[in-house]
Amino acid sequence: MNQDEIFAQRLRAAIARHLGAPGALHNLQRLTGGATKTTWSFDADVGEKRLELIVQLSNAGATPVPDPLAGVTPHLNSEEDAQIAMAAERGGVPAPHVYAVFDDADGIGHGYVTGRVAGETLGPRIVRDEKFAGARAVMARQCGEILAAIHKIDPREAPFLVRQDAAAEVAAYYRYADHYRLKLPAVELGLKWAAEHAPKNPRMTVLHGDFRTGNLIVGEDGVRCVLDWEISQIGDPMQDLGWLCVKTWRFGGKPPVGGFGSRDDLFAAYERASGISVDPKQVMFWEAFGDVKWALMCLRKGMAFSDGTEPISVEQSAIGRRIEEPLWDFLNLIEGRE
């Protein structure tokens, strides 16, 4: 038996054990494979039903050498990732429904099984395709309501979440720049600006942390599911609103919110649903700092090979060369040229 056959056999046993017999699998397909996470799509027979499912496996800790930057910014393990998604679902957020979290007896490693939601995740299609025109008209409002529900999650339901205010985040991103000995005045300017403009004493709530076009499953009716909870943390709720406006996540769409909506619609819906008033300047801080953060995430993706944690790859190298895109957007944003 090859690796994939062994995996399929163990997955079937795990499904039968956690969800119910017979657990027979159909259409098992690998969707993505990365250094830290592998995703598969499959259907499974459970009782009389055939469930449409996704399995995510974590390869964390499987890198050839320890990651020298591990923990500099928050990153959840599989079990925590599943727990925050479950807490979100209980709070009325359209999060993936978690059917099972693997344990040692499964022999599969760390990971979990969720329901599979039909829809589009590719940003360029969501912001451009005619079939999503109706979705785009309602998505800013929906995102405001969903973010309000996320920010209402009781932090005691996710005690593993790390607290980071703006100043702590700025310090973390200085570490990325210094680790790779980057000497780019544009990045220094961005970090300095962020340090000088960091909101003081903000309210702190549960955050999604990566709430943006690309991490939303969208149908013709709008947002169906919020994916990728693995960098969830406790922080300033305005951070999630600002990140959704970062120009990179507009995928060429003109409207400032995720390439599909207006800030007015997002803020009004958020205020109505959360009771928290939105300070547009504070959201703008998080959008501008979001540009700087994404620039340094590009650096990290492009240079991870130099730590020995990932093989050199053309795809990651190309992302490394995207560092100036968000820095250009940052400069335009803080100079009011947008």
């Binding site: 005045p185 220094e188 300017l189 300095k192 600006w193 060429g252 795809e315 190309a318 060369r321 250009w328």
Partner: protein, 118 residues
């Protein structure tokens, strides 16, 4: 500079022509995507070979004017970064803002020429 012919830009052009016109049409899925990214990366290298020399000279001249002395480009950048971090030069400084904007525009002309015209 080596005088071998054809020069590096022609070698790149030939490699890209093969990848794009002959290999790409035979590929699907993962391999098609990776090959597309590879062509983009080679285009970046081609633009860097064409543009970077003149850009680096301009960048060094701007840094020299702000720092008040000459030096290798890497040291000038290192010194400018240290000055920004320490606050010796203000983040609002007009000359610094102008320098950063020009440097970003130059880098984008190599890495993603479409970005500045969106």
């Amino acid at each position: 500079m080596p005088t071998s012919k054809p020069d590096a830009t022609i070698l790149l052009q030939a490699a890209m022509k093969y990848l794009e016109e002959e290999l790409l049409p035979t590929l699907n899925g993962y391999y098609r995507f990776q090959t597309r990214v590879t062509i983009n990366v080679l285009n970046t290298v081609r633009r860097e070979l064409e543009l970077r020399g003149a850009q680096a000279a301009d960048e060094a001249a701007r840094l020299q004017a702000m720092l008040g002395h000459d030096g290798p480009l890497d040291s000038l950048n290192e010194e400018m970064c240290a000055r920004i971090r320490s606050g010796a030069i203000d983040a609002d400084d007009a000359a610094l803002r102008d320098h950063v904007r020009r440097s970003l525009a130059d880098a984008l002309a190599i890495n993603n020429p479409k970005w500045t015209s969106r």
